[in-house]
Amino acid sequence: MSAIQIIPINWYILLSAVLFTIGVLGVLFRRNAIIIFMSVELMLNAVNLLLVAFSTYLSDSAGQVFVFFIMAVAAAEVAVGLAILMSVYRNTKSTDIYMLNKLKG
């Protein structure tokens, strides 16, 4: 029995839920685009945590493969997202997303 398995699965689930909720609330209530971005990452990682936890408990390596996959995609997404942020900042001299209401009809 490894060290991970000593801690009950419920705790992992709880931690993951808390992290995810923090991420969601961050996305909802923060105005700074960078923080929102970080909150999104937090949500992704909450899911990753859950995946590896279950993968270990169920002794199924597919979950870990998934996590790597998500990390790779998230890295790509961050690259694109940060590039967009840079361009937004150049245009508005701000990272406040409420400045970005130009599409409103």
Partner: protein, 632 residues
């Protein structure tokens, strides 16, 4: 020749096409030649058909041209039926049509609508020929509507005049009322017999056993159509107004041919009427009432064409009386003689109006005898023919009708004779006031008086000759003659005549004839006494007349009655429906849909604020809600 029957309607149609499309580019002489030539050609073919049919034993020939409508059980070929009845009508239509075309060349010479006039006239002849030639009710209906259209176009020929346009509309709408009855009649025929072709329908009708109420219904519905087209009570008021059209039109359409379509239709369907005594009774009563009613109005009119118009209505009444008492041959005979003398009288009136520079009021005429001798003489012959002077064409046909009326019902005979007396009186009143005495018009008019050109007088002379001798083909047996017409038409009315027995002793016939002649002579004497000897003139406009005279002069106020009893309520209902149903309900529903969409979208639009944070919030809340509902 019978195989060439399709040429008869085709020629006027081609004439119409040429004149209609290229009329403006052609010279007047060419237009007149094409139009008259087309009708003359049709007349030549009709003449050939007439004699060929008289010579051969097969009396009813159907010429199939092409299959017209095929749908389920219904199959209607476009085919023509050549039999004695249609061939006789062909002759009347094309013969008189040709003379009137010829006359129109002179009469319409200075009119700017010259080519338009001839185009319409040719189109009319085409539709009229279609009407009489069709071998089923549908083709007849097409012709029936077509002549109505041409009548409308020609009454409103001078369309810049509002009154003329109204007259045209009146004619069209009145006819529509009748046409509805006719159409329903055709539908009922199809439902009852499963066919609308004459041959099949009449063959089945002959062997029809059982309840004949459906036949009565068919006969009455068809008769409603005839009432409209042939101007019978109560749908006659359009015909006097139709005199707004050029005079040749009045002569051709509203006296000689189109208005007799109703008589043609009833005599074509004679077997249906014979099977329904009630329908025949209705036809006879409507006919005699119209004959009397219109004759009384004719007594008091002062417009030369109006008198002739009411006279036409009255004579059409006689024809229906004849049909109603089963004298089908008599009716067709009277159609023919009437076509001769009424066309003559109208054309004569046109010649008088031409000479009088457009004046139509007989109070302003008088003494025209010496200025326009040919018109005078032909008009006199026409008058003698219509009043039934012994030996003239009208005498024989009217006598035949009255004899049959006597046989059927003495009262009908008495009313018929009364109407004939009035006819004599107003026709001689018209004649005396126009041609006898001294001239009462203005000096300018007197200076301008002249006889009409040859193209107008020649048709008058030809028609006058026909009016005089036209009766010879139907001299009754009792006068030692041979009724050629009856023999010729016998195959058409054979089945009916088997059912209607005629027996009248020679003595009775002599007496009836004597009574008719003496009544006519008496009426003639009264007219002479009043208008020549005492030189009475009809009252001028605005003079007070005694109440009855005034009522008759105002045409019994029938137009006003229709206006108040039918038109005003309909207009009122229309107005009310427009205001309530249209403006409130229909518009309300349509506008309601519009404002509902605007209103609802106004509410929904608020959700689309453009605030992404809000969108995400809603998304999260929704997902949470979905998860909760799934979990618990």
């Amino acid at each position: 020749m019978i195989k060439l029957v399709w040429l008869v309607p085709l020629l006027p149609l081609i004439g119409f096409m040429i004149i209609g499309f290229f009329g403006k580019k052609l010279s007047k002489g060419l237009v007149g030649t094409i139009a008259s030539g087309a009708v003359l050609g049709a007349f030549a073919v009709s003449l050939g058909i007439f004699f060929e049919l008289g010579g051969q034993t097969e009396k009813s020939v159907t010429i199939d041209l092409f299959s017209w409508i095929t749908a389920g059980k219904l199959s209607i070929p476009f085919s023509f039926l050549v039999d004695p009845l249609s061939s006789l009508f062909l002759l009347i239509i094309t013969g008189i049509g040709f003379l009137i075309h010829l006359y129109s060349i002179g009469y319409m010479h200075d009119d700017e609508g010259f080519s338009r006039f001839f185009a319409y006239l040719n189109l009319f002849v085409f539709f009229m020929l279609l009407l009489v030639l069709g071998s089923n009710y549908l083709i007849m209906f097409v012709g029936w509507e077509g002549v109505g259209l041409c009548s409308y176009l020609l009454i409103g020929f001078w369309f810049k005049n509002t009154a003329y346009n109204n007259a045209a509309k009146k004619a069209f709408i009145m006819n529509r009322i009748g046409d509805l009855g006719f159409l329903l009649g055709i539908i009922l025929i199809f439902v009852t017999f499963g066919s609308i072709s004459y041959n099949e329908v009449f063959e089945q009708a002959k062997h029809f056993i059982g309840d004949n109420s459906v036949i009565t219904a068919i006969a009455l519905l068809l008769f409603i159509g005839a009432m409209g087209k042939s101007a019978q009570l109560p749908l006659y008021t359009w015909l006097p107004d139709a005199m707004a059209g050029p005079t040749p039109v009045s002569a051709l359409i509203h006296a000689a041919t189109m208005v007799t379509a109703g008589i043609y239709m009833v005599s074509r369907s004679n077997i249906l009427y014979t099977l329904s005594p009630f329908a025949m009774e209705v036809v006879a009563v409507v006919g005699v009432c119209t004959a009397l009613f219109a004759a009384t109005i004719g007594l008091a009119q002062n417009d030369i064409k109006k008198v002739l118009a009411y006279s036409t209505v009255s004579q059409l009444g006689y024809m229906f009386l004849a049909l109603g008492v089963g004298a089908y041959t008599g009716a067709v005979f009277h159609v023919m003689t009437h076509a001769f003398f009424k066309a003559l009288l109208f054309l004569g009136a046109g010649s008088v109006i031409h000479a009088m520079s457009g004046e139509q009021d007989i109070r302003k005429m008088g003494g025209l005898k010496k200025y326009i001798p040919i018109t005078h003489l032909t008009f006199l012959l026409g008058t003698l023919a219509i009043v039934g002077f012994p030996g003239f064409s009208g005498f024989f046909s009217k006598d035949e009708i009255l004899a049959h009326a006597w046989e059927h019902n003495k009262l009908l005979w008495f009313l018929g004779v009364l109407g004939a007396a009035m006819t004599t009186f107003y026709m001689f009143r018209l004649y005396f006031l126009t041609f006898k005495g001294s001239f009462r018009g203005t000096h300018d008019q007197e200076h301008h008086l002249h006889e009409s050109p040859k193209s107008m007088t020649i048709p008058l002379i030809v028609l006058a000759v026909l009016s005089v001798v036209g009766g010879l083909i139907g001299i009754p047996e009792v006068l030692g003659g041979h009724h050629y017409l009856e023999a010729y038409l016998k195959p058409v009315f054979e089945d009916s005549s088997l059912r209607l027995v005629h027996h009248l002793s020679h003595e009775t016939e002599y007496i009836l004839m004597g009574v008719a002649i003496s009544v006519m002579a008496l009426a003639m004497y009264f007219a002479y006494n009043k208008y020549v000897k005492n030189k009475t003139l009809p009252a001028n406009e605005g003079e007070t007349l005694n109440p009855i005279h005034n009522l008759v002069y105002k045409k019994y106020l029938i137009d006003e009655l229709y206006e108040n009893v039918i038109m005003k309520p309909i207009n009122f209902i229309g107005e009310a429906l427009h205001k309530v149903v249209d403006n409130q309900i229909v518009d309300g529903i349509v506008n309601g849909f519009g404002s509902m969409v605007t209103g609802v979208s106004g509410v929904i639009r608020k959700a689309q604020s453009g605030n992404i944070g809000f969108y995400v919030f809603v998304m999260v809340i929704s997902i949470v809600l979905i998860l909760f509902t799934q979990l618990f």
